[in-house]
């Protein structure tokens, strides 16, 4: 699933030993989303969070970028294994199979055209 997403929507993916940067193009993502459903990629909690605010594509794009970034380091995980939840402060927090992920921090960003995630591995 991740490979298909990367193939169709990726603008940039850069990896090193301690970080991964993923940027997706929103316009291309919209084409993909027209042909699939959010539940293929997100848990119910994530979908609820995404839908609770505006600018759906931009938020979807940033979160998918985050999932791709984490998948680069944990290739056996499926999209549903990786959850990006918003903390009270608004800061994104990664959960792997329901548990908070302690080995790295994620930063999300989005514009009208792009969704981006920067995953920094701390240990």
């Amino acid at each position: 699933m991740f490979d298909k997403l990367i193939h169709h929507t990726l603008y940039q993916l850069e990896c090193s030993d301690n970080y991964t940067l993923v940027i997706l193009e929103n316009e291309r993502l919209e084409v993909i989303l027209n042909n699939s459903v959010l539940s293929d990629w997100f848990t119910p909690q994530e979908i609820q969070e995404i839908r609770s605010k505006g600018r759906l594509i931009e938020r979807v794009s940033a979160r998918l970028a985050a999932k791709i970034a984490i998948h680069q380091n944990h290739t056996s995980l499926t999209p549903h294994h990786i959850e990006i939840r918003s903390e009270q402060s608004g800061q994104p927090q990664v959960y792997i199979e329901g548990c908070p992920y302690a080995r790295g921090v994620i930063s999300l960003s989005h514009t009208r055209n792009f969704g981006a995630a920067y995953f920094f591995i701390t240990n």
């Binding site: 490979d3 193939h7 990726l10 603008y11 993916l13 990896c15 090193s16 030993d17």
Partner: protein, 812 residues
């Protein structure tokens, strides 16, 4: 260093699982029965050796079943048993130190047969392209690497009936060379209409279950898989593993006699057996048993027994020889591995397996063939033979761990330097090195509109050889016997030997190797044979075509044409086939196995291949640009590149001009996905690091990188990430895929030739790309390198195998 066998797993006509298998062998119970999965009405036999009672869903998920075919499924079940048998503690070895070497003759051919049939009957648009994902020969190795987390070296060998013996030998080489601590080796092959109808056309099938060394009326085709876990002996001992046996030696030779028939005097077979025994430093009286190739054809049985009589003529005791193919059938590429397991179990149980269907009143070849009944006897040392079409001979020597004398002294192994002394180029960009080099400088792409225009194809571009200039390099008397792949290869081989001024003669012919690399192999011939099966019937195959369907046919033709009789093997690891051929040749020279090796990497480009790749949606509809952010695919090309590698001493001794030196290499796998690659480039970067380490070079010493970038966004991004991890954007990168097209199995040899040019002229091919996918330094037009001493050459295969070579200027 020593190589231990610590696990075995097998599926065959006589039983699934080692215990059931051995019970049948011990009792002389044949598994050759009437075929159930194929229509035998047009074949000259009803008998095959089918694997029965095998349900792959017991081992694999639904998705895995969908992504694989019978070849990989058999391999996986056998590997599962082998790993279970080895009782490896979790994390005993790091993933990076575990490798896989698989031998197969057919691979996913049955998938190809279904796809082709759909195409011919229902039209191209109705074909199921997913069948092609598991078609490549390297799919089994990819799948095992994914499931068992094998991220070290990954190689697929396809030398027809000796493929898995070659795989075992190469696995042992990798361990002895320090490239891995554990390697799973073995072979796998399914039944297919191609092999059944092909051998039928040659009138080589026995109407009854085969009778090796006795009636010798022909072979009985079978399917199966055998896998062995090889471990570094000292590490296996340290973990307290049960050591089932040792790999004591491996001898490879080439007959150089006939495309299919063995040398009737058995000279090649003698040489391979002799080499295997010599490697183990044994005398012939210490050999207790020979598991013969024993196919049941008159040609094999006669030649092999001649070789055996010659080999053991001074032996004090008669040597027992048996053919377990009389019970298992001929499992083609899996035969060597299944027979290796038979040998190991023979030592474990001190029992000689019998040759069944043997009329004891009729022993035409006069040796002790252990007729019909197994025999109890102390078995400490066993020789196993596998001989194949193309004259590819492999002999393996196995030893009983508890009864083998072992030296406690560290062995001083003299390593030889490998130099490049000859080039031969048959590529769209140029035929002959001068034409090729000038095309690099001009920068004009050879990719153009293809002649097989068809509105159903998405891509209409490719790089074809636009004339047949290369035919002048081939002896006209042999051209008619050659298919497209062999013609390309023969021409590049001839150019290389001429360029290197190397004369092959009686004195040196056994010290020269042929290492062939191809991704798709003789696809034109495979298509023609399969077309006749689908449209005309299984009994209508042209017998002159079938011998050219095996991947090692081209190498066999070259051995024959130039009378090269040293080791010969054919590597079919997809996009890394050419680079792995260079690596294997380099290792042989380094270890002193040979003085010189002719490396040839070839792939066809024709409508069949174009259609297949186009159906997978990986081809570009315009001239591709490597590392393009919008990369929409690649353009295929066909051709051949040959390189002569020699030991430094050999080159100096004969006064050869040295173009460059091979400093070192790295191989790694990502164990990620069949037909996919992990985009982070982490494991690709590991291959680069291993190559730097092996060559003793630092990243600062690399002056340019020849990459495998081809215009496909995803795979180019994998490499961009790998390069950036090691080199940031400090080193210029280049690729000829935009000028020459993507020569699937052979881009590294093409790049090696370009690197040789760059060592002299300081010019590397340019990449005209104003929208690169990552921050890397692309080579500019006519960019002159300030320093051109050392280059990195990378390649990658779909399925996640990566290789890196470091080559550079030779200094004595």
């Amino acid at each position: 260093m020593g190589v231990a066998i610590t696990g075995i797993g097998v599926l065959s006509a006589v039983g699934n699982g080692r215990e059931a298998f051995w019970e049948s062998i011990r009792l002389g119970r044949s598994g050759l029965k009437e075929m159930t999965r194929f229509d035998a009405s047009k074949l000259s036999t009803r008998f095959v050796g089918e694997v029965r009672n095998f349900d792959p869903s017991e081992y694999m998920s639904e998705q895995e079943l969908h992504e694989t075919e019978r070849c990989s499924q058999l391999a996986f079940a056998a590997a599962w048993e082998a790993f279970e048998n080895a009782s490896l503690p979790v994390d005993q070895y790091s993933d990076d130190r575990k490798g896989v070497v698989i031998g197969t003759s057919l691979g996913g051919i049955p998938n190809g047969e279904v796809f082709h049939s759909q195409w011919l009957h229902d039209g191209y648009i109705q074909t199921d392209e997913s069948l092609l994902l598991a078609y490549p020969l390297h799919t089994s190795a990819d799948f095992l690497s994914i499931r068992f987390r094998l991220k070290g070296p990954k190689i697929t060998i396809s030398t027809a009936c000796s493929a898995s013996s070659g795989a075992i030998g190469y696995g042992a080489t990798l361990i002895n060379a320090g490239k891995a601590d554990l390697v799973i080796v073995g072979g796998t092959d399914p039944l297919s209409m191609l092999s059944l109808s092909g051998f039928n056309s040659l009138k080589a099938l026995s109407s009854d279950p085969c009778s090796p060394y006795c009636q010798s009326k022909g072979i009985t085709i079978a399917e199966g898989a055998g896998m062995l876990i090889l471990e570094r002996l000292d590490l296996a001992e340290r973990r307290g593993a049960t050591i089932l046996g040792l790999v004591g030696g491996c001898g490879l030779s080439s007959d150089a006699y006939h495309p299919t028939a063995p040398n009737p005097g058995g000279a090649g077979a003698f040489k391979s057996m002799h080499t295997a025994v010599a490697q183990a430093s044994l005398n012939l009286d210490e050999i207790d048993y020979v598991n013969g190739h024993g196919t049941g054809t008159r040609a094999n049985d006669s030649a092999e027994t001649s070789a055996l009589k010659n080999m053991f003529r001074d032996s004090k005791k008669p040597i027992p020889v048996s053919s377990t193919k009389s019970m298992i059938g001929h499992t083609l590429g899996a035969a060597g591995a299944i027979e290796a397991i038979t040998c190991v179990m023979s030592m474990m149980h001190n029992t000689l397996p019998p040759t069944v269907n043997f009329d004891e009143s009729h022993n035409p070849y006069g040796l002790d063939f252990v007729p019909n009944t197994s025999r109890k006897q102390q078995v400490n040392t066993v020789l196993s033979n596998s001989f194949a079409f193309g004259g590819n001979n492999v002999s393996l020597l196995f030893q009983n761990y508890d009864h083998s004398p072992r030296s406690t002294e560290p062995q001083n192994v003299a390593h030889h330097r490998t130099v490049i002394t000859g080039l031969g180029i048959v590529q769209p960009l140029g035929i002959g090195k001068e034409s090729f080099f000038s095309a690099i400088v001009n920068g004009k792409s050879a990719i153009q509109d293809i002649p097989f225009q068809n509105e159903v194809y998405h891509s209409r571009v490719g790089a074809l050889l636009d004339n047949e200039q290369y035919l002048k390099y081939i002896n006209p008397s042999v051209v008619r016997r050659l298919d497209m792949l062999s013609k390309y290869s023969m021409a590049s081989a001839k150019m290389t030997l001429d360029d290197a001024k190397l004369k092959v003669n009686r004195d040196n012919c056994e010290r020269i190797a042929i290492i062939f690399g191809t991704s798709s192999g003789p696809i034109e011939t495979v298509e023609a044979v399969n077309r006749s099966i689908v449209l005309q019937g299984a009994d209508k195959v042209n017998p002159s075509l079938f011998p050219n369907t095996v991947m090692n046919a081209a190498a066999g033709h070259i051995c024959l044409a130039f009378q090269i009789k040293g080791p010969s093997t054919t590597i079919c690891s997809g996009g890394v086939s050419g680079s792995q051929a260079i690596i294997y040749a380099h290792q042989m020279i380094k270890d002193g196995i040979v003085d010189a090796a002719l490396v040839i990497a070839s792939d066809e480009y024709n409508e069949t291949l174009h259609a297949g790749y186009d159906r997978l949606g990986v081809l570009s509809d315009t001239i591709p640009v490597p590392f393009d952010r919008e990369g929409r695919g690649f353009a295929l090309s066909g051709g051949s590149t040959a390189i002569l590698l020699e030991s430094e001493e050999h080159a100096i001794r004969r006064g050869a001009e040295v173009y460059g030196e091979v400093f070192g290499y790295g191989i790694a796998s990502d164990a990620y996905r069949i037909a996919g690659n992990q985009s982070s480039g982490k494991d690709y970067a590991r291959s680069i690091e291993l190559a730097l380490q092996d060559s003793g070079k630092t990243k600062e010493q690399i002056d340019a990188i020849f990459t495998d970038a081809r215009g496909s966004k995803h795979i180019d991004m994998v490499e961009a990430n790998a390069v950036r991890r090691i080199f940031k954007d400090q080193v210029p990168v280049t690729s000829l895929a935009g000028l020459n097209g993507y020569a699937v199995g052979g881009l590294t040899p093409v790049h090696t030739a370009a690197a040789v040019f760059a060592l002299k002229e300081h010019v590397i091919p340019a990449i005209a790309n104003d929208n690169p996918i990552a921050s890397i330094r692309l080579a500019g037009h006519a960019e002159r390198l300030q320093r051109a001493e050392t280059f990195m050459i990378n390649s990658s295969a779909y399925g996640g195998t990566y290789t890196s070579l470091v080559i550079g200027k030779y200094r004595s």
